[in-house]
Amino acid sequence: MLDSPRFTSASIAVRRDPPTVEDLRSTTVPDDPVQRRDLILIERARSGDLDAFNDLVTLYQDALFALVVRMVPDRDQAADAVQEAFFSAYRNLEAFRGGNVKSWLNRICVNAAMDTQRARKRRPVQPYPELEDEAWQPKAGDETDPERIAIHTERSRALAAAMAHITDDQRTAIVLYDVEGYDYTEIAEMTGVSLGTVKSRIHRGRLALRDLLEDRMELFRG
């Protein structure tokens, strides 16, 4: 899923376009066709067109799930969190003040994921219960060499298990920084902690991951 061109380009778009606060509706028409399309869909959804909102859901559900499932190591809970995020977005369509729709949805998803993490602390479950699930298999066509598929699968499982063992805060900070490309300040604002705390969580999390994976680093080299 992550190797697909759509997801890769979307991730890069988030990294290069920090969320803006100005209202683009009345002043400028964005040059980016993706943003223009998203704003049109939002406007139509605001006027009561459910299909327009569902088009947005279809466009972004995979990318948002990929973000949340890294933060919440349980497939069903991650899907629930993304669903909650879409509910929240739909309910608060009037609160969207222009800018990057994907960044807006990302932020809502991060909040939903953190809510889920807090709920998990109260009701702990087995992390990644579906590790042996077929869902972990790569999509057809992504890899053809069986040996590479096996290595990649094993690496993903080892990494997922290690990610499940670091703290929620560290995992969230690492995902937002290393995968989503947010900077320290944005992560501090999103998670409601200081800049120093964000840096500390990222560095401690990375070092903890390395300690957890030290014996299996041959999977990651080369």
């Binding site: 909102f53 859901v57 990929a66 509910f87 929240s88 009037e94 070092l207």
Partner: protein, 199 residues
């Protein structure tokens, strides 16, 4: 052993920070363990970025029923709108209405009270100048003497009370309406807020 001891004193955080664009510590080049740590952190970061993830287990499109519940139309939409935390109008409006209503009620109540005390004093003064031994009706409870006022005094007091009644009644009615409106708005806000449920 010497390498391991010196490596323990090296700043591992600085090596991690270098992944985010910070300057690479010199120990990465000089200390083999620091060099290995840096290489491992890079490999892990790349693996986190391109790890295979579970696929989305279900479609997340909103059905029409859920959408209607999330953004209700008509009067339900109005109730939900005034119950939302973003609504910055109805709460101050409700508080103002309640405040005005209470103020109006106080204004209508205070002249009546001052009238009874004031008329009592006036009648007492009048009785002392005319030599009438009967004290005013309002003096009961203040003086502790249970005496009956003269018929003329009571008539005068009632007449002045009736003279101010129409204006007071209008103010009283207006105050009651304001108070009721404000209270109703507050209750509706209160009832509307918990109705916002996710599913």
């Amino acid at each position: 052993v010497a390498d391991r001891r010196s490596h323990a004193r090296h700043d591992r955080f600085a090596i991690s920070a270098a992944l985010g664009g910070g300057s690479l510590p010199g120990t990465v080049a000089t200390c083999p363990a620091c060099g290995a740590l840096h290489a491992d952190l890079l490999a892990i970061r790349d693996a986190v970025r391109c790890a295979w993830l579970p696929t989305l287990p279900r479609e997340l499109r909103l059905p029409a029923v859920t959408a209607e519940r999330l953004r209700p139309s008509g009067w339900r939409g109005f109730v939900r709108a005034i119950g939302s935390s973003r609504d910055a109008v109805t709460r101050p409006l409700a508080m103002s209405l309640v405040g005005l209503g209470l103020a109006g009620l106080l204004l209508t109540a205070l002249p009546t009270a001052s009238f009874s005390f004031g008329s009592a004093g006036a009648m007492r003064q009048e009785s002392s100048t005319t030599g009438d031994p009967a004290p005013a009706a309002g003096a009961i409870g203040i003086t502790g003497q249970a005496t009956t006022p003269s018929t003329g005094d009571v008539d005068r007091g009632l007449a002045s009370t009736n003279a101010s009644a129409p204006g007071d009644e209008r103010l009283l009615a207006l105050s009651a309406v304001l108070l009721a409106s404000g209270s109703t708005l507050l209750i509706v806000r209160r009832l509307a807020a918990p109705q916002v449920t996710m599913r």
